[in-house]
């Protein structure tokens, strides 16, 4: 089996398992929707204020939803021993980890991207803002998944790791959040956002090239 077939097999298996567990799949999404709908209820539903807060709130909700789904990314595999089998297989571990991360994004990041426009409308974002939100989430959430995978791999062997995971990865996710939310905000007020989009893409490329290797190294440490 060559490397691309191996990669495809990993992704397919992850999807296969995930679709047997609808609950696990849906809860981060529900969390995203709920956090986003808490703000208008807790503040006051003034259009002007919601339009100003919308980009930041939606981006933070997406970030937290990603974080919520990360905790279980490698834990199950380590507990039932299937990670050992992947580590000992003749294929590069980083590729297997990357496959799992891609599956994580397909199952968590992509639905967020698709849900976000609907939520953006409830925040009265203008059309340009909605488009920018979808675009920045589309480029930004893969970086979040890749960064989160490193944290999940580092804490996979630790009990009670939820808070620790947040402490480790939130500072690292900050640039993505800032570029994403600010670009959405700028687009809403009719400005060009090619700059932040390029920066987000650069972050994604950097993350793609380095982070799977770091996650693989972290998995080896967690399994030791």
């Amino acid at each position: 089996m060559n490397l691309s077939r191996f990669f495809a097999a990993i992704v397919r298996r992850e999807l296969q398992i995930a679709f047997k567990r609808w609950g696990d799949l849906a809860s981060p999404l529900m969390f995203f929707v709920m956090v986003a709908s808490l703000f208008p209820l807790a503040l006051s539903p003034q259009h002007e204020m919601l339009r100003n807060l919308g980009p930041a709130v939606l981006w933070i909700a997406a970030l937290l939803a990603t974080l919520l789904s990360l905790n279980a990314l490698f834990r199950g595999d380590i507990e039932d021993g299937s990670m050992e089998q992947l580590v000992l297989s003749p294929y590069p571990l980083a590729l297997a980890i990357f496959g799992k991360t891609v599956a994580h994004w397909l199952l968590n990041g992509l639905p967020l991207v698709m849900l976000a426009p609907a939520l953006a409308v409830t925040y009265y974002l203008p059309v340009e803002g909605v488009r920018a939100l979808s675009l920045t989430l589309l480029i930004g959430t893969p970086t979040l998944s890749l960064l989160g995978a490193v944290g999940a791999a580092l804490t996979a062997g630790v009990r009670q790791s939820g808070g620790l995971l947040a402490l480790l990865v939130l500072p690292l996710m900050l640039p993505v959040l800032m570029f994403g939310a600010r670009a959405t905000d700028l687009a809403g007020s009719g400005e060009q956002i090619t700059g932040p989009l390029y920066l987000l893409s650069a972050l994604l490329l950097l993350a793609l090239s380095l982070l799977p290797l770091a996650s693989a190294a972290a998995i080896r440490i967690s399994l030791d």
């Binding site: 490193v150 580092l154 804490t155 062997g157 630790v158 790791s161 620790l164 402490l167 480790l168 939130l170 500072p171 690292l172 900050l174 640039p175 800032m178 570029f179 600010r182 700028l186 920066l199 972050l203 380095l210 982070l211 770091a214 190294a217 972290a218 440490i221 967690s222 030791d224």
Partner: protein, 249 residues
């Protein structure tokens, strides 16, 4: 050169040498800190714009400098420890973290105290303070991650990996904060900088930077000795050492 390096990296040798050097370094650094503080508080003239308030620079800048320098040191030693599997390098990284975190906190607090008379508010989301805050979070993350492992060698490797990932991220975070705040606030907010510093203002600052580096070095050696004991307490030389003189300090 390589030989010398190997000898230094051998735990018993390091333990002995560090035990000789650290008290000397500690005392001389404390004397230099005292001189620098006297210079900063008494001898240096007041700034013509910021008045006496500018004297906070003498503690803010050394601690800001230490906070970044220590993180860089942690990342380098973690990398060395991961690549060449040198326990001593991991011990250095582990020892540096709490010292770095404490000076990061001092840098934040003194920055806030400086900000009140300068900006009229204790906190402003200016790039330097924001980066410093995130650096503090990263220090906390590193220390919590280490603390969550019972096995020291696992803690070493996991923490080392996080330190290396963090050092790639720090400049990204720093420049994104700068970009972000350049959109946010007009030029009315002044950065925490001493304008046109003169010679008799400068020497206490340089002295304090040097003295605090020396102070950090002394503490580091002291802590690394403890970390070496933690890692080596099964080995012959530690047993001989502690068997000879129980409760050696």
């Amino acid at each position: 050169m390589w030989n010398w390096f190997h000898k230094l990296a051998s735990p018993p040798h390091f333990y002995r040498l560090a035990g000789i050097f650290s008290p000397w370094m500690l005392w001389s650094s404390l004397i230099l800190i005292a001189i620098g503080t006297y210079g900063g508080l008494v001898l240096a003239p007041a700034d013509y714009q910021q008045g006496e308030g500018f004297r906070i620079i003498y503690v803010h800048v050394p601690s800001s400098y230490l906070s970044t320098m220590i993180y860089a040191l942690m990342a380098v030693t973690s990398g060395i420890g991961l690549i060449w599997r040198i326990k001593l390098a991991h011990a250095v990284a582990a020892s540096a973290a709490p010292i770095g975190a404490s000076f990061t906190a001092v840098s934040l607090l003194t920055g806030m105290l400086w900000g009140k008379p300068m900006w009229g508010t204790y906190w402003e989301w200016d790039p330097r303070l924001t980066s410093e805050l995130i650096l503090l979070f990263i220090y906390f993350g590193y220390m919590s991650l280490r603390a969550s492992f019972e096995d020291i060698s696992k803690a070493d490797r996991a923490g080392g990996l996080l330190a290396v990932v963090g050092v790639v991220n720090l400049p990204i975070i720093h420049y994104s904060v700068i970009w972000w705040s350049s959109l946010h606030q007009g030029p009315s907010i002044k950065k925490l900088d001493a304008p046109s510093i003169s010679g008799d203002m400068l020497w206490p600052l340089l002295l304090l930077i040097a003295a605090s580096t020396l102070f950090f070095g002394a503490l580091l050696l002291y802590r690394v000795r403890a970390e070496v004991l933690d890692r080596e307490h099964n080995s012959r030389w530690v047993q001989d050492l502690l068997g000879e003189m129980p409760g050696a300090g």
